[in-house]
Symmetry: C2
Subunit: 417 residues, 2 copies
């Protein structure tokens, strides 16, 4: 039998999806499973997007331009301009999901054995795409105790080598919900100039910022046009995960040209997806306002509930719809599996994502989980109750308690209910 | 400025699409351009597929299973069974077009510097996907004089090295239209057993076989379950290029597991595409019969017309909807560009694909073009007339004439009008 590639062997499995067989089995036993493990929002896809697909009237579903429909790119250019971001239609490629945009960016910037620095915990699939490119993710650790702020520039410099080609940031962050500040980006700017690095920023959660916080886009950075690559997607923004429409944007002409060769090789992004995504740009400002208000309510409800459970701690996320929580447990993979295979209360249980899968250093995150607040508050209430009960009976419970909620966070939470 | 990856530099541009600016300019000058350069069929997408999308009734466009919707895979399994092909739902991955299936197969089988043997001329994008994997395409040449039959096994053995991991075949072939025989596949079977190689077969044109010829699928081969990987797509079969739905199938569990890790990293194939593709499986047998009859008519019309032009020769393709023709010209890239920028007759011109882009050896195919017969016979008649006129006035015309139509081909063409 011919052997598969080394890449195929070392590529990590999705840590988020590998508990699926246990959840399937739990459902087969008749349990209701509350899914806080995945980023599939329950928000309705905008009617205007669904209508555009229904009303699409062509007799042949043809290829589109490899870079995406020109009219969609022109419209996207206006969408970004409204946030003060200057991206011309020929500075962007429409991709098959944000995933393909990450793949194109890595393939265009990283050769085998090149290194890319990513603050951990990070979106696990970055590691798979780095493996596709034969490149190596160099993690630097951000910690729950500091609320997952950007590690100091000294930490970055410690791991920079001649093989370092890029830094990757997800802002707002998946899995932590941390929203990077302008000041943090200015530090990164100095760093990429000093070491001549690419800065690849995943902004798929750009519209999910709470408490009036402004999102600072990497495209705002001055003087680093050739360094910066932005990744985007409509999946979360409009609850359109299944469309598979994303974006790569950069002013670096060599990167766009390289990514375009990959785009031409795979011919084009999905036609129906582009039609729906283009129509979605017409949703009114109120859509985002209502969605943000709903997520803010859920976040406050979740964080309040979590931090009231003895031994549990989660810092307050200011963006996206995830939070990482520290639990009084021995091992979150074991705990999450136990939730699905041994625990139940009133014929219900819950599914969480073990945070270890979001750390490149497999020793970290062992007592942390990622929780996606993609359920409404009624369901969140049940899920929080289930978690509290589960932690009482879990055999691997540890005596150590989580970090306490900091005083300023308590005050802040009080004021934001 | 940070430099892009070596991969990004060496990855070839699409030879089919790089004439697009000249064609755009020709249209801007008011010319009508007959497109025989691309595989975008003019056949209507089945009504049942478009209706399935219009009638899809869900409030949220969610992610699907990373391997593709289970019900779609079950239905595909039955589609293949009807052709005597045994593929179980867990032996297949639904991909974002056949392109992604090729990428997943290469990524799963080939490490950097590994080699894959492909008879040339071949579908140019294979080279881009090999470059993505860091692997090297080793071409062996099939010639227009032999009608593009499979090169002898000795030719394969000449280029096999310890780095050779796979052989790739497209059947029926793009760009040549050649349909490989069972006997040729039995020779390949012996070869992959002898050298323990993967055999990756692109069968996206499987339903396009003419004159009663049977398609021989790689999945028919016995005793090489762990070597064989099949690539498929709905793009041409149902005229659904824009759906971006393809397939990777293999009984090799390690390959499926590796491809599945890539599939999970990119989350899922497009939801609307899967809905349309699934509905397409209900088109009646008559759909293919009518489509095949139409393409057969076009092929005969085109080949008859081409071979009547002095100095032009094209062997009779038995599958797909392409043919490669030898023209009495100095350089097909120059000729194709000249057609778009300098030639016109009655305010019309035509666009062809220079065949050099389909050869890895850039010295070959310089006087050949690929012609896709994706236009109806009325338009083909105009296109053939334009080609004949263009060849008369092209300044780079060479005195040498193309290979004559062989006697048995003339007889055959006579009987198949």
């Amino acid at each position: 039998m011919p052997s598969i590639s080394q890449r195929g062997v070392i590529m990590p499995s999705s840590p988020i999806r590998k508990l699926v067989p246990y959840s399937d089995a739990a459902k087969a036993r008749g349990l209701r499973v509350f899914h806080l493990n995945i980023g599939q929002p329950d928000i309705l896809t905008p009617e205007v997007a669904l209508a555009a697909v229904k009303n699409a009237n062509f007799p042949i579903v043809e290829y589109t331009h490899s870079a995406g429909m020109p009219e969609y790119r022109r419209k996207l250019s206006k969408y970004y301009a409204a946030s003060g971001i200057d991206i011309k239609p020929d500075e962007m490629l429409v991709t098959c999901g944000g995933s393909e945009a990450v793949l194109f960016a890595f393939m265009s910037c990283l050769d085998p054995l090149d290194e890319i620095i990513v603050p951990e915990p990070f979106y696990a699939n970055y590691e798979a795409f780095a493996a596709s490119a034969g490149a190596c993710v160099k993690p630097i650790t951000s910690t729950i105790e500091t609320g997952f702020t950007l590690p100091s520039i000294e930490e970055f410099e410690k791991v920079i080598t001649p093989k370092t080609k890029a830094i990757m940031i997800c802002n707002p962050n998946n899995p932590t919900g941390y929203l990077y500040s302008e000041q943090e980006f200015m530090q990164l700017r100095d760093l990429i100039i000093k070491y001549d690095l690419f800065l690849i920023v995943d902004e798929v959660y750009r519209e999910f910022c709470y408490d009036g916080a402004q999102h600072f886009s990497c495209m705002y950075l001055k003087g680093v046009d050739d360094n910066v690559i932005m990744i985007d997607s409509v999946s979360k923004r409009y609850s359109e995960c299944g469309l598979r429409i994303g974006l790569l944007a950069t002013k670096n002409k060599a990167v766009i040209a390289s990514a375009m060769k990959q785009a031409q090789a795979r011919l084009c992004p999905p036609t129906f997806g582009q039609i729906a995504a283009m129509a979605s740009l017409d949703v009114p400002e109120e859509y985002f306002k209502a969605m943000n208000e709903e997520y803010r309510r859920r976040r406050n409800f979740l964080l309040d509930g979590l931090n009231k459970i003895p031994g549990v701690y989660s810092p307050m996320p200011r963006g996206a719809f995830y939070t990482v929580a520290k639990l009084p447990i021995d091992d979150s993979e074991r705990f999450c599996q136990w939730l699905l295979s041994e625990f139940s209360y009133n014929n219900q249980t819950l599914m969480l994502a073990p945070a270890a899968g979001f750390y490149s250093n497999r020793l970290l995150g062992r007592n942390e989980v990622r929780i996606a607040y993609v359920l409404n508050c009624d369901d969140l209430a049940i899920a929080i109750d289930l978690l509290a009960r589960a932690l009482k009976s879990y055999p691997g419970r540890t005596p150590e308690s989580g970090s306490p909620l900091m005083e300023h966070e308590k005050r802040w939470l009080q004021g934001n209910k």
